[in-house]
Symmetry: C2
Subunit: 520 residues, 2 copies
């Protein structure tokens, strides 16, 4: 079987997603990460449409890549321009990539309604544009936009457009399901026809508007297509592009088709990196790479997985850099809870009087909006408190936080005071911060560091706020999740209140208590 | 072709999702909504495993449903119990549903490793349990857990388990891809075999661990399977269940197979309702029902869609209760921005000097973390300010917010003071609130309502906080989005700052300015 080509368009089609904006710098960082992962092609942007992309192509030229070829993307010439005067083609050349992906129209609706030209004229644009770039020494991949919609409307014309591109020198023809409306059985049938009609290797570019992008991509590969285009985490316009984070492991682990050079175990890391750079909420439930992908909550499942992971895990999570997790919830039942408690080194029999108390406490907290998935630090403290084995390291006598803004355009000043008691000593401190939360954090640490110098090594890694009841305006309850870390550990803590400062306080106090606990 | 059966398990398998907890009340509300949508079966819970589910079945009995049959779910008897003494079977009977879905083991690995019994004994459990429930007058659907994994390991035994269930009186056999690891071509082949071997109608229950749950469900239906099980928004353990919000429109609009009784246009509403009740973040990019599913950002796309929506929309969004949206972004280009500006009733030529200024302002704001998708109110104000056509309704002289906590367990007091100038009058007010954000909201309104009584009718409908840079702890920038409404309109506003009170202030002030603007 022909070797597969993984073609990433996170930086071009992915950047079309609502809420996603990459700077040129961001793009360079993502490109380096994709190269390390071992993808074959990185579509970096559309230099003819975005000044930022011109900057990216300028920057990426100076950076050596190990595996990947960087590609500039653009459209066939405008009907009113000659190739020499077409700004889009000129921008593609100026990007100085060895390979260019050029898209053109397949679907008669687009030719007549969107471009407003004749079908014959469109063939001319395709041929001219491909030939011009070939003449300038570039390799050309031809993206047949709306190929499947076009083929369903007018199969002969759709085939003519790609024949034209191939005659003019295109080395790949990529069949695009641009609107994402095609079903897998249609993809299969059409891909089979096109392979008989087209003498260059084919690619598939699928969108997820019917939740079919991954299936459509794999079905196309099953018929013999060699190049698959997609994005990390499936980000992209509307419902997104085909998700490479699902396609790649499906290819390697399910279809036994090598796709990357032995870098599959870095997949979760790359997925998280792109989420971070794109500043998106991670999708916990994402196949293979989501935090919940191998998380077990049902009592029956937890029980079985502890005996043999294959009972409820379709692959070994380590293969994609993921891991197994056991969740705390009322669904997990008593035995699940006991297993969880034991993981913290506390031994309890199933009928111990404290177990019911602990189950009740957990349920009550959960009904208030607490969530201990991701806040294992608070969970452990709660257990220790319920077991009566926790000695608090400090007592809060009070805090006050003040935010003061003096005029319309000035930045407000945030100040916090904290009064705590450690043993018999009362400590009263004040601090400022970037905001009220930060000021409270500073004041609390300042008050405790003289008693517990090890707190100096604690860093707050992440601070998350979630408004719980979405319909109560500024009176809504909020949940604060804090992730803290030192040189060897990371721990999460949680707070819930209608008052964001109180919720923050709870999570901060737990973070510090947890750190001091682990040093006992 | 046989009529399809839509079987919803949002309340049972969906409730296994990480972060999802439904109360019995929640479950009743969701069941009513599902009934209105027109699904045929609602799997309400597992009464043998969850006390909350017993409560749900007690409550739902008193509520008349129009279309749906409510189903209780449970497992075959334990090997050590007789059917009469098996608590799970007894709880199923006590739920008093006419139909019960019973699951049993198909895969030898589960029989020997998880249950620790012989293959023959497992057949006995299946036969006994189905026959017992049938004897009590219940209709029984049989869920063959891990059917595909079981069939691939030992096809004869897998078929034996379902033959046993059918002999004992099961009316449906549902083939479950419990671990979600099966590819569509395997599903097709195995479903074809089973249809030849089994004389009752079949169902499919797919999980999304390979991002294949929707494709696998539809491929199964293509082979002649009549019942499809899934959840609203695809929520469920690990990577979720097959997503009914994609399956149903794919069936009706792509495969022309009637699934609901003419209620497809309520799909987005039901999707949003479940998201809200489950207290999850909506997935904007969800196919068909997500807010971005028909949102256009690329300049080329916006341009074409305005001419003919079919160019980049695979269906008419109204069919599923969704709508088209045009997004503001640097990608949309000048012409997209001009169209957006015109939508606000401002006429500008493409080369007007202010246009570049506006584009620059927008870009700068976006790079700071502002986002105007969902904050159209702030966007309009920004445009009016850039055009020089905005007269502010008030001037802030200053505010102060104080949060004070007196002891470890007490609720903190939140107080805000605000000083504003309206015309030549200075107003200085103070107010308390549930938290600092709420107190600031109260004080600001109090100070302005005497000048602008129409502010009394403004309600804050939603308040969202998003931490932007995920790695700066309590110093991170936050973005606040506020949704406000009066008796006829709704508008969104945004604020960004490292200080949550400042970000809130910006969004609150914009909300009020916007209201006063629309009254001009």
């Amino acid at each position: 079987m022909a070797a597969l080509e993984i073609y990433d368009t996170t930086l071009r089609d992915g950047a079309q997603a609502e809420d996603v904006t990459f700077s040129a710098d961001d793009k360079v960082r993502v490109a380096q990460k994709l190269d390390e992962l071992g993808v074959h092609f990185i579509e970096g942007g559309w230099p003819g449409a975005n000044p930022k992309d011109i900057e990216f192509f300028r920057m990426i030229k100076t950076i050596p890549l190990k595996h990947a070829t960087v590609i500039a993307f653009g459209s066939t010439r405008k009907a009113s321009n000659s190739v020499h005067k077409d700004p889009n083609l000129q921008a593609l050349l100026a990007a100085e990539t060895k390979t260019i992906t050029l898209f053109g129209k397949t679907w008669s609706l687009h030719v007549t309604d969107a471009l407003g030209i004749s079908l014959a004229k469109n063939l001319e644009l395709i041929g001219d544009s491909v030939a011009y770039l070939r003449g300038k020494g570039r390799r050309v991949f031809y993206d047949a936009e709306h190929f499947f919609d076009g083929y369903k409307t007018n199969p002969e014309y759709a085939l003519d457009t790609i024949r034209k591109a191939v005659e003019a020198g295109a080395e790949r023809v990529i069949l695009c399901d641009t609107n994402g409306g095609t079903m897998p059985w249609e993809i299969r049938k059409i891909c089979e026809v096109v392979q008989r009609e087209c003498r260059v290797p084919l690619g598939i570019h699928a969108h997820n508007d019917c939740e079919m992008a991954v299936a459509n991509s794999l079905v196309a590969i099953e018929t013999g297509i060699v190049q698959v285009q997609g994005t990390i985490n499936g980000i992209g316009e509307r419902c997104g592009n085909a998700n490479l984070c699902s396609i790649i492991p499906n290819l390697e682990l399910k279809m036994k088709r090598p796709a990357l050079s032995d870098r599959l175990s870095h997949l979760k890391e790359v997925s998280g990196f792109v989420t971070e750079i794109a500043n998106l909420m991670p999708n916990k439930h994402q196949p293979y790479v989501g935090d919940s992908a191998f998380a077990h909550k049902g009592g029956v499942h937890i029980h079985a997985v502890l005996k043999n992971a294959a009972t409820y895990e379709h692959i070994d999570p380590a293969k994609v850099g993921n891991r197994q997790r056991m969740l705390v919830s009322d669904y997990a039942g008593r035995s699940g809870l006991l297993e969880k408690i034991e993981a913290y080194g506390i031994k309890l029999s199933k009928n111990h009087a404290k177990v019911q108390e602990l189950v009740d406490t957990l349920k009550e907290r959960e009904s208030q909006g607490y969530q201990f998935e991701g806040a294992e630090g608070s969970f452990e403290l709660l257990m220790r408190k319920a077991m009566g084995s926790h000695k608090p390291s400090f007592q809060l006598l009070g805090f006050r936080v003040i935010v003061e803004k003096k005029q319309d355009n000035g930045a407000p000043l945030s100040e916090a005071t904290v009064m705590v008691k450690v043993g018999e000593v009362v400590e009263h401190t004040a601090a400022v911060g970037a905001g009220p939360v930060n000021a409270l954090d500073h004041a609390l640490r300042k008050s405790l560091e003289k008693f517990y110098p090890q707190l100096r090594e604690v860093k707050l890694l992440d601070y998350k706020v979630r408004v719980l009841a979405a319909n109560k305006g500024t009176e809504s309850k909020v949940r604060v999740l804090i992730e803290s870390g030192d040189h060897k550990d990371k721990w999460g803590t949680v707070g819930v209140s209608e008052n964001i400062m109180e919720a923050t306080w709870q999570a901060l106090a737990d973070s510090i208590e947890y750190k001091l606990l682990s040093k006992d």
